[in-house]
Amino acid sequence: MKYIIYLVIGVFFGLIMYKSEAASWFRIYEMFRFASFHMYGIIGSALVIGIIGVQIIKRNNIKTLDGSKMSLAPKNKSIARYLIGGIIFGLGWALAGACPGPMYVLAGAGYSSILIVIFGAITGTFLYGLLKNKLPH
Protein backbone atom coordinates (compact mmCIF):
# COMPACT_ATOMS: atom_id res chain seq x y z
CA MET A 1 0.00 0.00 0.00
CA LYS A 2 2.79 2.42 0.90
CA TYR A 3 3.90 2.28 -2.72
CA ILE A 4 0.67 3.84 -3.98
CA ILE A 5 2.01 7.32 -3.19
CA TYR A 6 4.95 6.72 -5.57
CA LEU A 7 2.58 5.53 -8.25
CA VAL A 8 0.52 8.72 -7.86
CA ILE A 9 3.64 10.94 -7.96
CA GLY A 10 4.78 9.02 -11.05
CA VAL A 11 1.45 9.58 -12.84
CA PHE A 12 1.57 13.30 -12.00
CA PHE A 13 5.17 13.53 -13.22
CA GLY A 14 4.26 11.65 -16.42
CA LEU A 15 1.34 13.99 -17.13
CA ILE A 16 3.58 17.06 -16.71
CA MET A 17 6.38 15.63 -18.85
CA TYR A 18 3.98 14.86 -21.68
CA LYS A 19 1.86 18.00 -21.43
CA SER A 20 4.89 20.31 -21.10
CA GLU A 21 6.31 18.70 -24.27
CA ALA A 22 9.60 18.05 -22.45
CA ALA A 23 9.12 14.47 -23.69
CA SER A 24 9.04 15.56 -27.33
CA TRP A 25 12.04 14.95 -29.58
CA PHE A 26 11.15 18.19 -31.36
CA ARG A 27 11.54 20.27 -28.18
CA ILE A 28 14.93 18.72 -27.39
CA TYR A 29 16.18 19.39 -30.92
CA GLU A 30 14.86 22.96 -30.77
CA MET A 31 16.54 23.51 -27.40
CA PHE A 32 19.95 22.43 -28.67
CA ARG A 33 19.49 24.75 -31.65
CA PHE A 34 18.70 27.64 -29.26
CA ALA A 35 15.52 28.22 -31.25
CA SER A 36 13.01 28.50 -28.41
CA PHE A 37 12.85 29.58 -24.80
CA HIS A 38 10.38 26.80 -23.91
CA MET A 39 12.76 24.16 -22.47
CA TYR A 40 14.98 26.76 -20.82
CA GLY A 41 11.86 28.25 -19.26
CA ILE A 42 10.78 24.87 -17.86
CA ILE A 43 14.18 24.08 -16.36
CA GLY A 44 14.74 27.70 -15.25
CA SER A 45 11.39 28.14 -13.52
CA ALA A 46 11.71 24.71 -11.84
CA LEU A 47 15.10 25.85 -10.58
CA VAL A 48 13.97 29.21 -9.25
CA ILE A 49 11.24 27.52 -7.19
CA GLY A 50 13.60 24.64 -6.34
CA ILE A 51 16.42 26.86 -5.07
CA ILE A 52 14.07 29.01 -2.95
CA GLY A 53 12.33 25.93 -1.52
CA VAL A 54 15.57 24.11 -0.67
CA GLN A 55 16.89 27.25 1.06
CA ILE A 56 13.68 27.46 3.13
CA ILE A 57 14.03 23.77 4.04
CA LYS A 58 17.66 24.22 5.09
CA ARG A 59 17.21 27.45 7.05
CA ASN A 60 14.24 26.11 8.98
CA ASN A 61 15.71 22.62 9.28
CA ILE A 62 12.48 21.12 7.95
CA LYS A 63 12.34 17.32 8.35
CA THR A 64 10.63 14.61 6.33
CA LEU A 65 7.17 13.43 7.37
CA ASP A 66 8.64 10.72 9.60
CA GLY A 67 11.04 13.18 11.20
CA SER A 68 14.32 12.24 9.50
CA LYS A 69 16.73 14.46 7.60
CA MET A 70 15.86 15.26 3.97
CA SER A 71 18.01 13.76 1.19
CA LEU A 72 20.00 16.92 0.50
CA ALA A 73 23.52 15.63 1.19
CA PRO A 74 26.29 17.33 -0.81
CA LYS A 75 27.52 15.37 -3.84
CA ASN A 76 31.07 13.98 -3.96
CA LYS A 77 33.62 16.39 -5.37
CA SER A 78 35.06 15.55 -8.77
CA ILE A 79 35.30 17.11 -12.19
CA ALA A 80 36.11 14.18 -14.47
CA ARG A 81 33.09 12.00 -13.73
CA TYR A 82 30.56 14.83 -13.93
CA LEU A 83 32.02 16.40 -17.04
CA ILE A 84 32.77 13.22 -19.03
CA GLY A 85 29.66 11.43 -17.78
CA GLY A 86 27.64 14.57 -18.48
CA ILE A 87 28.91 14.89 -22.05
CA ILE A 88 28.17 11.21 -22.76
CA PHE A 89 24.66 11.70 -21.34
CA GLY A 90 24.14 14.85 -23.42
CA LEU A 91 25.16 13.07 -26.63
CA GLY A 92 22.59 10.37 -25.91
CA TRP A 93 19.91 12.83 -24.80
CA ALA A 94 20.14 14.63 -28.14
CA LEU A 95 20.54 11.45 -30.22
CA ALA A 96 17.49 9.68 -28.76
CA GLY A 97 15.68 12.96 -28.10
CA ALA A 98 14.73 11.70 -24.66
CA CYS A 99 16.15 11.57 -21.16
CA PRO A 100 15.23 8.86 -18.63
CA GLY A 101 11.92 10.28 -17.30
CA PRO A 102 10.36 11.00 -20.71
CA MET A 103 11.40 7.56 -22.02
CA TYR A 104 8.85 5.90 -19.74
CA VAL A 105 6.25 8.54 -20.48
CA LEU A 106 6.63 7.92 -24.22
CA ALA A 107 6.37 4.16 -23.67
CA GLY A 108 3.02 4.82 -21.99
CA ALA A 109 1.99 7.08 -24.85
CA GLY A 110 2.35 4.06 -27.13
CA TYR A 111 5.57 4.75 -29.05
CA SER A 112 6.93 1.22 -29.20
CA SER A 113 10.27 2.37 -30.70
CA ILE A 114 11.11 3.96 -27.37
CA LEU A 115 11.45 0.44 -25.93
CA ILE A 116 14.68 0.16 -27.95
CA VAL A 117 15.91 3.35 -26.26
CA ILE A 118 14.97 2.00 -22.81
CA PHE A 119 16.69 -1.31 -23.60
CA GLY A 120 19.76 0.72 -24.65
CA ALA A 121 19.66 2.72 -21.41
CA ILE A 122 19.51 -0.43 -19.27
CA THR A 123 22.40 -1.89 -21.31
CA GLY A 124 24.37 1.36 -20.86
CA THR A 125 23.79 1.28 -17.11
CA PHE A 126 24.96 -2.35 -17.04
CA LEU A 127 28.09 -1.47 -19.07
CA TYR A 128 28.90 1.32 -16.63
CA GLY A 129 28.66 -1.18 -13.77
CA LEU A 130 31.16 -3.44 -15.57
CA LEU A 131 33.62 -0.66 -16.41
CA LYS A 132 33.18 1.51 -13.30
CA ASN A 133 36.53 0.67 -11.70
CA LYS A 134 38.46 1.37 -14.91
CA LEU A 135 37.00 4.85 -15.43
CA PRO A 136 38.35 8.12 -13.97
CA HIS A 137 36.05 9.38 -11.23
Binding site: G10, V11, Y18, A46, R81, G86, I88, W93, S113, Y128
Partner: protein, 185 residues
Protein backbone atom coordinates in the same frame (compact mmCIF):
# COMPACT_ATOMS: atom_id res chain seq x y z
CA UNK B 1 -12.68 23.19 -22.49
CA UNK B 2 -10.34 22.99 -25.43
CA UNK B 3 -7.49 24.36 -23.33
CA UNK B 4 -6.97 20.97 -21.66
CA UNK B 5 -5.66 19.65 -24.98
CA UNK B 6 -3.18 22.48 -25.34
CA UNK B 7 0.42 22.26 -24.21
CA UNK B 8 1.24 23.31 -20.67
CA UNK B 9 3.16 26.62 -20.63
CA UNK B 10 6.72 26.51 -19.29
CA UNK B 11 5.88 28.73 -16.30
CA UNK B 12 3.33 26.15 -15.16
CA UNK B 13 5.34 23.00 -15.98
CA UNK B 14 8.58 24.16 -14.32
CA UNK B 15 7.06 24.92 -10.90
CA UNK B 16 5.05 21.65 -11.05
CA UNK B 17 8.31 19.73 -11.63
CA UNK B 18 9.75 21.51 -8.57
CA UNK B 19 6.62 20.39 -6.69
CA UNK B 20 7.35 16.75 -7.58
CA UNK B 21 10.85 17.21 -6.16
CA UNK B 22 9.52 18.70 -2.90
CA UNK B 23 6.88 16.00 -2.42
CA UNK B 24 9.61 13.35 -2.81
CA UNK B 25 11.88 15.20 -0.35
CA UNK B 26 9.08 15.41 2.20
CA UNK B 27 8.54 11.67 2.06
CA UNK B 28 12.28 11.07 2.41
CA UNK B 29 13.36 10.45 -1.19
CA UNK B 30 15.43 12.19 -3.80
CA UNK B 31 14.06 13.16 -7.21
CA UNK B 32 15.89 11.32 -9.99
CA UNK B 33 14.61 9.33 -12.96
CA UNK B 34 17.74 7.35 -13.88
CA UNK B 35 18.60 5.43 -10.69
CA UNK B 36 15.69 3.11 -11.51
CA UNK B 37 17.84 1.79 -14.40
CA UNK B 38 20.38 0.57 -11.86
CA UNK B 39 17.59 -0.91 -9.77
CA UNK B 40 16.31 -2.69 -12.91
CA UNK B 41 19.80 -4.13 -13.62
CA UNK B 42 20.07 -5.35 -10.02
CA UNK B 43 16.59 -6.88 -10.19
CA UNK B 44 17.60 -8.75 -13.37
CA UNK B 45 20.55 -10.27 -11.48
CA UNK B 46 23.39 -8.00 -12.65
CA UNK B 47 24.88 -8.26 -9.14
CA UNK B 48 26.56 -11.45 -10.40
CA UNK B 49 28.55 -9.41 -12.94
CA UNK B 50 29.48 -6.33 -10.92
CA UNK B 51 29.44 -5.17 -7.30
CA UNK B 52 27.84 -1.95 -8.54
CA UNK B 53 24.59 -3.91 -8.76
CA UNK B 54 25.00 -5.71 -5.43
CA UNK B 55 22.69 -3.76 -3.21
CA UNK B 56 19.31 -4.23 -1.64
CA UNK B 57 17.33 -3.35 -4.75
CA UNK B 58 14.08 -4.27 -3.03
CA UNK B 59 14.56 -1.19 -0.84
CA UNK B 60 14.56 0.81 -4.09
CA UNK B 61 11.30 -0.61 -5.39
CA UNK B 62 9.72 2.79 -4.88
CA UNK B 63 11.56 4.16 -7.91
CA UNK B 64 10.17 1.33 -10.04
CA UNK B 65 6.69 2.40 -8.88
CA UNK B 66 7.53 5.92 -9.98
CA UNK B 67 8.38 4.49 -13.43
CA UNK B 68 5.08 2.59 -13.66
CA UNK B 69 3.33 5.82 -12.69
CA UNK B 70 5.19 7.76 -15.40
CA UNK B 71 4.11 5.16 -17.99
CA UNK B 72 0.48 5.52 -16.88
CA UNK B 73 0.81 9.31 -16.93
CA UNK B 74 2.06 9.16 -20.52
CA UNK B 75 -0.84 6.90 -21.48
CA UNK B 76 -3.46 9.16 -19.89
CA UNK B 77 -1.96 12.38 -21.24
CA UNK B 78 -1.57 11.18 -24.83
CA UNK B 79 -4.99 9.50 -25.03
CA UNK B 80 -7.24 11.87 -23.14
CA UNK B 81 -5.78 15.31 -22.57
CA UNK B 82 -3.52 16.18 -25.48
CA UNK B 83 -3.84 17.06 -29.14
CA UNK B 84 -0.43 15.34 -29.55
CA UNK B 85 1.12 18.13 -31.54
CA UNK B 86 4.11 20.27 -30.65
CA UNK B 87 4.25 23.79 -31.97
CA UNK B 88 7.93 24.40 -32.42
CA UNK B 89 9.68 27.37 -33.97
CA UNK B 90 8.69 27.54 -37.71
CA UNK B 91 12.35 28.11 -38.59
CA UNK B 92 13.12 24.70 -37.07
CA UNK B 93 10.15 23.09 -38.89
CA UNK B 94 11.64 24.28 -42.17
CA UNK B 95 15.17 23.32 -41.18
CA UNK B 96 14.10 19.76 -40.27
CA UNK B 97 12.26 19.37 -43.59
CA UNK B 98 15.11 20.73 -45.71
CA UNK B 99 18.13 19.25 -43.95
CA UNK B 100 16.81 16.00 -42.52
CA UNK B 101 13.66 15.24 -44.48
CA UNK B 102 11.63 15.27 -41.27
CA UNK B 103 8.31 16.46 -42.64
CA UNK B 104 5.78 16.27 -39.83
CA UNK B 105 7.27 18.78 -37.40
CA UNK B 106 4.49 20.81 -35.77
CA UNK B 107 1.88 18.14 -36.53
CA UNK B 108 2.94 15.22 -34.34
CA UNK B 109 4.50 14.68 -30.92
CA UNK B 110 7.52 12.72 -32.22
CA UNK B 111 9.02 12.58 -35.73
CA UNK B 112 7.59 9.52 -37.50
CA UNK B 113 10.80 9.30 -39.55
CA UNK B 114 12.56 8.21 -36.35
CA UNK B 115 9.84 6.86 -34.03
CA UNK B 116 7.28 5.51 -36.49
CA UNK B 117 6.92 1.74 -36.76
CA UNK B 118 7.97 1.84 -40.43
CA UNK B 119 11.22 3.59 -39.46
CA UNK B 120 12.24 0.35 -37.75
CA UNK B 121 12.75 -1.21 -41.20
CA UNK B 122 15.99 0.72 -41.21
CA UNK B 123 18.89 -0.80 -39.22
CA UNK B 124 20.32 2.73 -39.04
CA UNK B 125 17.31 4.02 -37.10
CA UNK B 126 17.41 1.01 -34.76
CA UNK B 127 21.08 1.80 -34.13
CA UNK B 128 20.29 5.49 -33.47
CA UNK B 129 17.65 4.54 -30.89
CA UNK B 130 19.77 1.89 -29.21
CA UNK B 131 23.00 3.93 -29.10
CA UNK B 132 21.09 7.01 -27.92
CA UNK B 133 19.70 4.97 -25.04
CA UNK B 134 23.08 3.37 -24.35
CA UNK B 135 24.78 6.77 -24.02
CA UNK B 136 21.97 8.07 -21.79
CA UNK B 137 22.19 5.06 -19.46
CA UNK B 138 25.98 4.96 -19.34
CA UNK B 139 26.37 8.74 -19.00
CA UNK B 140 23.68 9.10 -16.34
CA UNK B 141 25.34 6.55 -14.05
CA UNK B 142 28.85 7.85 -14.76
CA UNK B 143 27.74 11.40 -13.95
CA UNK B 144 25.67 10.14 -11.01
CA UNK B 145 22.37 11.53 -12.26
CA UNK B 146 20.36 12.78 -15.21
CA UNK B 147 18.29 15.84 -16.02
CA UNK B 148 16.09 15.41 -12.94
CA UNK B 149 18.86 14.39 -10.52
CA UNK B 150 21.38 17.04 -11.52
CA UNK B 151 19.63 19.82 -13.47
CA UNK B 152 16.66 19.99 -11.07
CA UNK B 153 17.55 18.37 -7.71
CA UNK B 154 21.29 19.05 -7.64
CA UNK B 155 21.16 22.61 -8.95
CA UNK B 156 18.27 23.44 -6.57
CA UNK B 157 20.64 22.38 -3.79
CA UNK B 158 23.37 24.60 -5.33
CA UNK B 159 25.70 21.66 -5.97
CA UNK B 160 28.80 22.48 -8.01
CA UNK B 161 29.11 18.85 -9.23
CA UNK B 162 25.60 19.15 -10.66
CA UNK B 163 26.51 22.37 -12.44
CA UNK B 164 29.52 20.60 -14.01
CA UNK B 165 27.27 17.70 -15.04
CA UNK B 166 24.64 20.03 -16.56
CA UNK B 167 27.35 21.89 -18.49
CA UNK B 168 28.42 18.44 -19.73
CA UNK B 169 24.82 17.61 -20.76
CA UNK B 170 24.73 20.75 -22.88
CA UNK B 171 28.19 20.27 -24.39
CA UNK B 172 27.15 16.74 -25.43
CA UNK B 173 23.73 17.82 -26.72
CA UNK B 174 25.08 20.77 -28.67
CA UNK B 175 27.82 18.64 -30.28
CA UNK B 176 25.27 15.98 -31.25
CA UNK B 177 22.66 18.27 -32.78
CA UNK B 178 24.95 20.84 -34.37
CA UNK B 179 27.90 18.73 -35.53
CA UNK B 180 27.05 15.01 -35.51
CA UNK B 181 23.46 15.23 -36.88
CA UNK B 182 24.62 16.85 -40.15
CA UNK B 183 27.11 14.00 -40.57
CA UNK B 184 24.87 11.04 -39.83
CA UNK B 185 21.33 12.08 -40.89
Amino acid sequence: MNFIYESLPWYVSGPLIALVMFVLLIIGKQFGMSSNLRTACAAFGAGKASDFFKFDWKAERWNLMLVIGAVLGGFIASNYISNNTVEINPVIVQELAENYNIKNAGETYLPKEIFGIKALDSPFIIAVLFIGGLLVGFGARYAGGCTSGHAISGLSNLQLPSLIAVIGFFIGGLIMVNFIYPLIF
